[in-house]
């Protein structure tokens, strides 16, 4: 691919790309790059958080009414799973820095497993919403039981006969957009962690070259962090 560059690569580390002078320069460049990438990710989600803020401020009734249809227990379970996966990911980075290959492989595998559990739970939640017809915009056709379940949920006296505000589908539109985009990021994260895992099994990382684990970890923490905001904003409204 770059035959002409290999002449000055003989006395250089095999991991050092031709455009860099030192491994440290390469590491710092990658780190700055990944942080800037994370900023762009935050801004991508910021658009949706902004949509959320505008509609929540203008139509609080929709959010208070509709959030009851979300399953708090499953949401909490997923939150716990992701926080745990962040912990194992951080530990994996440490293991890579210390050159503990077995620990690194195991911790990455656990992180990946957590991601699978998260998606499985998410699938169950989406499936329930689908069955109940609680979808977005033009696809919002709640079936009877769901509507009743929603009404029955609050035992508070005054709200027992509340029939729900108009345009409840806006909430579900926002719910599916935010969690859907987040789920896509989980899937991307799984691909990245899977790739790092394969490299780790081959023994590609050492205390002097652990950058990809570090970068993947930073990305994974951001994905977790976004969920930590999504969970209370969507499931725990009062």
């Amino acid at each position: 691919m770059q035959e002409s560059h290999q002449q000055h690569g003989e006395h250089r580390s095999a991991h050092l790309a031709h455009q860099f002078d030192t491994l440290d320069q390469q590491y710092q460049s990658g780190k700055l790059g990944i942080w800037i990438f994370l900023v762009t990710e935050i801004l991508l989600f910021a658009g949706l958080f902004c949509v959320y803020a505008v509609y929540r401020a203008n139509h609080p009734d929709i959010f208070i009414y509709a959030h009851r249809f979300l399953n708090k227990n499953l949401g909490a379970l997923n939150t716990a799973v992701l926080i745990f996966s962040s912990f194992t990911m951080a530990w994996a980075v440490r293991a890579a820095q210390l050159g503990k290959k077995r620990a690194l492989v195991n911790l990455l595998a656990i992180t990946l497993l957590c991601a699978f559990i998260f998606l499985g739970v998410k699938y169950v939640e989406y499936q329930n919403k689908w069955k109940e017809g609680l979808l977005w915009g033009t696809h919002y056709h709640p079936i009877e039981e769901a509507a009743h379940a929603g009404e029955a949920a609050p035992a508070d006296s005054a709200e027992a006969h509340y029939t729900g505000p108009p345009n409840v589908h806006v909430f579900f539109g926002i719910y599916f957009l935010m969690t859907g985009l987040h789920a896509l990021h989980i899937i991307a994260g799984m691909a990245i962690i899977g790739w790092v895992l394969v490299k780790a099994r081959r023994g590609a990382f050492s205390p002097s070259y652990f950058y990809p684990v570090d970068y993947a970890g930073l990305y994974w923490h951001l994905v977790d962090l976004i969920w930590i905001f999504l969970f209370p904003l969507l499931y725990l409204i009062r």
Binding site: Q19, L32, G33, L43, V54, G137, T138
Partner: protein
């Protein structure tokens, strides 16, 4: 260190027979799969020039249709699609990537004395994404194109039957291309500066690219999510922007302009950077007010995020918001004027040489001045109500985008052409063409200022007969420009084979890219050179044997 910059490796000492990047590998694959920033820059250059040609073709169709007050050559529906495609192609495929991705990619690592950008693979991916995005735009074009205007305003864009989704998806992909370029440039500037180049020793083009990259990285993701929401809305019927479903179309406008206003600074900031390089070189004088120009780039980048609401003065926004946005809009004039002042002060008592890059530079300062000042008319609330959506707005942004960015792009293209391809073009033809373009430009758009202030609305297919002569002047000017651009294409293509071989430093600039050969070898520099003051032109003398400039020999008092 107070020594006058004495370069470690003067141009003359470069090995003569190092293979240039153009000869390093042959065949299509060696180009489209290249990791060399110079080749990627050339690929971008070819792509954006193709886009410019296509967008220009649509401009000619628009102007031809508007020759008469009623139907001239096309139906109203076709006309709507043509002006949409003109805008979308020119903005997303030409002006936004134009200077940073084509010229910037080529020049930035060279100016740093580096071997490449920090992430060559991302750089290549960015070009591949550009091509994919462009293919989606062409797909939309084949399927009749969109008729929404380049702004894709809802609810029309979610209800029209034209091919909106492919072109919006294309713009979405192009956004990622832009983000990756910006990310790459920020990291490269942070990590690859050579010894001797502190932040305030950087060429001003790098400051401009840096400020641009910040906007690209911070604003483009918001466009990404906006366009994604628009697609989801059309395909799945989500209803976030649809008033019949309880959605808010004005929210779309806020989101759109939150990106698209900073985007006009993505276009103009690199152009200002090019002008800062050119004005110093061709005035044979150190740039005036270096720090003021550098800081004003950053100030413009910062303010660019706070003024999007001035596109929405008549959208039903609150009067308070209107006043704040208006005041912030006026504040952008300050850093812009600081730049213009410094460029003019650089020319003052300089030894001005009106080579082609300089004619475009002078044109830029004049036309950007007009474009910028008319922006203040539009930023004022009361006049904007009258001028909103008229040809005055069209003329204003063409003076900034075309009179500003395109002139700087042309200037930069002529300036770096010998470096990129190693050939000189015909100077006389270049001057004639630049004159035709500048004169044609003014005929085209000055008449639009007048008819706009008289009330001619933009985007109209038919118009009242009293506007006919203005439209005809405008069209005549557009044809003159077209001839000028064709002339440019002719002599530039001719120069590729027949042009005089370019010396390493034909213009006598002190920035690092002129210290390697023209065209540069694949590795750029054998060793990263030490940077001096990028605008200290005094040690450079013209050497008739080389046909270019070279550094004055250290011990030769008698030579100078």
């Amino acid at each position: 260190m107070n020594t006058v910059s004495s370069p470690a490796t003067p141009a003359a000492a470069e090995p003569e027979h190092a293979a240039s990047y153009l000869q390093d590998g042959h065949g299509i694959k060696s180009w489209i799969m290249t990791l060399d920033h110079k080749r990627i820059g050339v690929l971008y250059l070819i792509s954006i020039l193709a886009a410019m040609f296509l967008g220009g073709l649509f401009a000619m169709l628009i102007r031809t249709e508007l020759l008469t007050p009623t139907k001239t050559v096309m139906e109203a529906e076709t006309y709507n699609r043509v002006f949409t495609l003109h805008g979308a192609i020119m903005i997303f495929l030409f002006i936004i990537p134009g200077i940073p991705a084509a010229l910037g990619n080529f020049v930035l690592p060279l100016m740093l004395g580096a071997r490449d950008v920090a992430f060559p693979r991302l750089n290549r991916l960015s070009w591949h994404l550009y091509v994919i995005g462009a293919l989606f735009a062409i797909y939309s074009l084949i399927h009749g194109g969109a008729d929404t205007g380049w702004t894709f305003y809802t609810p029309y864009s979610t209800t029209t039957t034209s091919a909106v989704v492919p072109i919006v998806f294309g713009a979405f992909i192009l956004g990622f291309s832009s983000i990756l370029t910006g990310l790459n440039f920020i990291v490269t500037i942070h990590r690859f500066r050579p010894p001797g180049m502190g932040w305030f020793r950087m060429p001003l083009f790098l400051w401009a690219l840096y400020a641009t990259a910040i906007i690209q990285v911070l604003a483009t993701p918001v466009l990404g999510i906006t366009l994604l929401l628009l697609i989801v809305e059309r395909v799945l019927g989500v209803g976030i922007f649809d008033p019949t479903l309880g959605g808010d179309p004005v929210l779309f406008q806020h989101f759109f302009w939150f990106y698209s206003h900073p985007a006009v600074y993505i276009m103009i900031l690199p152009a200002m950077g090019v002008i800062s390089e050119l004005v110093s070189t061709f005035s044979r004088k150190h740039i005036f007010g270096y720090k003021a120009i550098a800081y004003s780039s950053v100030a413009i980048a910062f303010l660019s995020f706070l003024v999007w609401g001035h596109h929405m003065f008549v959208s039903g926004q609150s009067p308070m918001a209107n006043m704040i946005f208006s005041a912030l809009t006026f504040s952008v004039a300050i850093p812009s004027a600081v730049k213009v002042f410094n460029w003019v002060a650089t020319m003052y008592k300089g030894s001005i040489k009106m080579d082609a890059p300089m004619t475009y530079t002078v044109a830029f300062i004049l036309l950007f001045g007009i474009g910028g000042l008319t922006g203040l008319f539009l930023g004022a609330l009361a006049t904007d109500v009258h001028l909103h959506d008229t040809y005055f707005v069209v003329a204003h942004f063409h003076y900034t985008m075309m009179g500003g960015v395109l002139m700087a792009f042309m200037g930069g293209l002529h300036y770096w052409w010998p470096k990129i391809f190693g050939r000189m073009y015909n100077e006389k033809l270049a001057n004639i063409a630049s004159l035709m373009i500048v004169v044609g430009f003014n005929i085209t758009f000055l008449s639009q200022f007048i008819m706009g202030s008289l009330g001619m609305p933009r985007r109209y297919y038919n118009y009242r007969p009293e506007f006919e002569s203005y439209h005809q002047w405008s069209t005549a000017g557009a044809y003159l420009q077209a001839i000028g651009f064709i002339l440019v294409a002719v002599y530039l293509i001719h120069s590729l084979r027949r042009g005089r071989l370019a010396p390493a430093n034909p213009w006598g600039s002190a920035t690092l890219e002129w210290r390697c050969a023209s065209p540069p070898p694949t590795e750029n520099f054998a060793q990263q050179p030490t940077a001096g003051d990028p605008y200290d032109l005094k040690p450079l003398v013209f050497d008739p044997k080389l046909g270019g400039f070279t550094y004055r020999a250290e011990s030769a008092e008698g030579v100078a």
